[in-house]
């Protein structure tokens, strides 16, 4: 028979860390597509306009992935997961931006011959910077979403380094 184990010390698993915040993040998981429920979800016209701008910025990045992939098929295969994640980010941004619909995205330009990878990395970095800056003048779930997307894109940038 094994000895009685000592009491377990407090844990720091993600489950523990998340326990306190799970309720607060519940709405974030919905992409803020529900009508505003309280004061913190009120969005000013300036905030709505800025979020719409960020949707367009993300659309341009999605186009940049396509352009880079067309220019460099090997790169296309390498960044397929990143491109899918950029699409996922766009979906969440659109869901959080009232009245924003899919549009013909602004062309991101074309990568230079032989330099698709570096060009795409620059596009990702610029998009991340734009979202991070926009995050500062948002609040609540919109700030959380923009900050998360910006961080995710910096991870993409690091992956391509």
């Amino acid at each position: 028979m094994s000895p009685t184990p000592p009491p377990r010390p407090p844990g720091f698993s993600r489950r523990t860390l998340l326990a306190a915040s799970a309720a607060g993040l519940a709405l974030l998981a919905t992409g803020c597509s529900s009508p505003p429920a309280d004061e913190r979800e009120r969005v000013t016209s300036e905030q709505a306009d800025e979020l719409a701008v960020q949707v367009a910025v993300q659309e341009a990045l999605v186009s940049a992935f396509a352009a880079a992939g067309a220019a460099d098929p090997a790169l296309a295969a390498e960044v397929a997961e990143l491109a899918a994640q950029a699409d996922e980010q766009l979906t969440r941004l659109r869901a959080a931006s009232p009245g924003t619909t899919a549009s013909a995205s602004s062309p991101a330009g074309a990568p230079p011959a032989g330099g698709a990878r570096g060009w795409l990395r620059e596009q990702i970095g610029a998009t991340a910077a734009s979202h991070a800056t926009a995050c500062l003048d948002q609040s609540g779930a919109r700030a959380a979403l923009l900050g998360s997307v910006a961080a995710g894109l910096r991870g993409h940038e690091a992956r391509l380094a």
Partner: protein, 157 residues
């Protein structure tokens, strides 16, 4: 958005401080956890571990000072923490580092969600971004795929 219990649902210093308190707890855990990571990695990886731990110490101290200046509650580090899994190899250590950075990212997204001050959002997005960049490296070292995350700190939809 979740009700913070304040009655108005508005973001204010109270909501912000509560979220910063959670972030501080995550930073305490990260500082402790990187000690475990450092003990299990090779000499080659130790420099990254030391740098990561130093960053979390800096953030911890910054948040502690911020909350103290506001006369808000400042939680101390716990005496010990339970590892989420045994750390018996370098791959385990990298996986633990992923857990630490993801936990920090979760907490700082929560700060973004609850913050009332622009300066706090600026701090939060910077810390969140750095955590995700470190996590990308650790996911690779842990053999996890994908190594990137579309929406770090946010629950899946």
């Amino acid at each position: 958005m979740a009700d913070d219990g304040s009655g108005t649902g508005a973001l204010d210093e109270g909501t912000e401080n509560a979220a910063l308190g959670e972030a501080l707890a995550a930073e305490h855990a990260a500082v402790w956890g990187y000690g475990v990571v450092g003990a299990a990695v090779s000499e080659d990886a130790r420099e990254v571990v030391v740098a990561s731990e130093a960053v979390h110490r800096d953030v911890r101290d910054r948040v502690t000072a911020l909350l103290s200046d506001r006369n808000a509650e400042v939680a101390d580090a716990k005496g010990a923490y339970t590892l989420p899994f045994p750390v018996l190899s370098e791959v385990d250590a990298a996986a633990l580092a992923v857990v630490l950075e993801d936990g920090v990212a979760d907490a700082w997204v929560r700060v973004l969600d609850q913050a009332a001050e622009r300066s706090t959002r600026e701090l939060a997005v910077g810390v969140l971004t750095a955590a995700e960049v470190r996590a990308v490296g650790w996911r690779g070292a842990a053999g996890q795929a994908p190594v990137t995350s579309a929406l770090p700190g946010l629950p899946p939809q």
